[in-house]
Symmetry: C2
Subunit: 335 residues, 2 copies
Amino acid sequence: MRIDDRFFMELALREAWRYQGLTYPNPAVGCALVKEGRLLAVEAHRKAGESHAEVRALLKAYEALIGREAAVDPADADAVHDFLETIPEELFRGVTAYVTLEPCAHHGRTPSCARLLARFPLHRVVIALADPVAGHGGGADTLALAGIEVEFGCCREEAQALLEPFGIWQQRAFVLFKLAQTANGRIGGGYLSGPDALRHVHRLRAAADEMIIGGGTVRADRPTLDCRFSRDPAPNLTIYSRKEDFDRTIPLFDVPDRSVEIRDDLRALLERPGFLLVEGGEGMLRALQERIDWLLLYQTPKLSPHPLSYNVDQKLEYLHTEPLGRDLLIWSRFG
Amino acid sequence: MRIDDRFFMELALREAWRYQGLTYPNPAVGCALVKEGRLLAVEAHRKAGESHAEVRALLKAYEALIGREAAVDPADADAVHDFLETIPEELFRGVTAYVTLEPCAHHGRTPSCARLLARFPLHRVVIALADPVAGHGGGADTLALAGIEVEFGCCREEAQALLEPFGIWQQRAFVLFKLAQTANGRIGGGYLSGPDALRHVHRLRAAADEMIIGGGTVRADRPTLDCRFSRDPAPNLTIYSRKEDFDRTIPLFDVPDRSVEIRDDLRALLERPGFLLVEGGEGMLRALQERIDWLLLYQTPKLSPHPLSYNVDQKLEYLHTEPLGRDLLIWSRFG
């Protein structure tokens, strides 16, 4: 194993992937801080409105260097910023920061990360990818003006994959198709995923603008489609179906505070910028095949003789895989 | 991400998994070396007769500390041992070693790792698992006698999974069933795996004592079953079949310097200590279902409408997953 810039950037990328989709409408971003070879922190942005990756990493690194926890909530961006403005600059002398995306230069819902980083006598900031949003760049300039060495391009391709949903959902709907399956690709036979995977999909449902589900799945599974495992509000729901005659005792119709629409045309929904989470089986996969951006598989640890699978001819590209409880999470691009 | 003993041990485990099976008859072992928080090296044992993980890691750490490569072949255990006996002991003062298995105390095909480690004023040796081989222990005692702090049990469960094949193949055959499939569990339609996955399976074939293949697969696929992608000698082959009337122009019969046997009873083979790599489809999976230890999936990045899959009812436990070129490698336990 080579211990070099790529090694540290890959740690930052891996941490960021844990929050892919969950940061919507923000991008998933990771940050690692290293002082003279010592890894101080690897953190990620977790949720829009909360601290950015760099801010969480600086706080964690501070705690690692002084050897105790700071009395501040790491998620509270303003509080952590304020706190980090007060700590001795010298603490971070010689630190190299690895960030998967150029630190933000603008003060949006949270203060600017580039200005915060520039406060410290860092040795180097290694950036995988420049900020792609028009008018949002300039973070690297802020750092360079403060005398910090800035380097672009380490793990650029991996960072582009991580950032792809963010690039898409600003232009049009980012369509993520979610499937839970056995290790031999069977999708029938009741609940397949373990509790960690269920909690994860419920968090994704809560993050997305809207859930789309096929009418056939609604009739066959009689699902609830809420976010009870993550204790989040239920997502708005679109049922893709030509017929409207659903049995209204199906639990999904009985979830409070969410809209359910039945549509036979998804075009308007797909053109609008946003994040759509699609669940269903072969029918839904085929219906949206040309418009699915990514596939998210929750692969459960068993082989099943259940006959229900899905027949689709589609190239994929694996982007990231990680264990999630007893299951595997496999992110891939339709391509 | 927590940066603690588990973090460094997991790096050692991950590196060791890259050589799972390939180290046969030795165990897969990984080692990470850390000096005052600075990660110096993460290395693994790669092949029986070559340097152990600790030896490779010490050499890599030496190179990291002095900033240039040493003029010694890292694979050559005796040469690296001799070299490491000559370097200044002080270089490794304060280093913590993370090893997935207790360093060997005995001089086998290679000199003792425990004695080599004990030469240096290490701060601590963190060991996931004690040496399970009767008469092989004592590595920790050697270290403790030299005044080095020794700690057992970090990531014990993960290390037990890594070491499981080694424990089995000393008693009876370790049966690894290999399958190449699409992301939706289809196994038909010609070559599925990419070049990296093919090279990996050929290296596994070369490491195993014997390959077993189902008669049906031989007739349907007319395979060669050699190790041309890794340029290793071809494995001995057992075809599991009741009938002996194979078309002798099938390429596997024409590979030089390997035996091919046709058997309708595998019991003798399965009782003998060793490492058996089984390839085939549903028939072979069902025939050996009670005797398969682990399943190795090479999951290729596509969804396929090909009808060939496998209907088996079997619980699994995922042990390790990693990308291998464009494919995914998924190690799991039958359980």
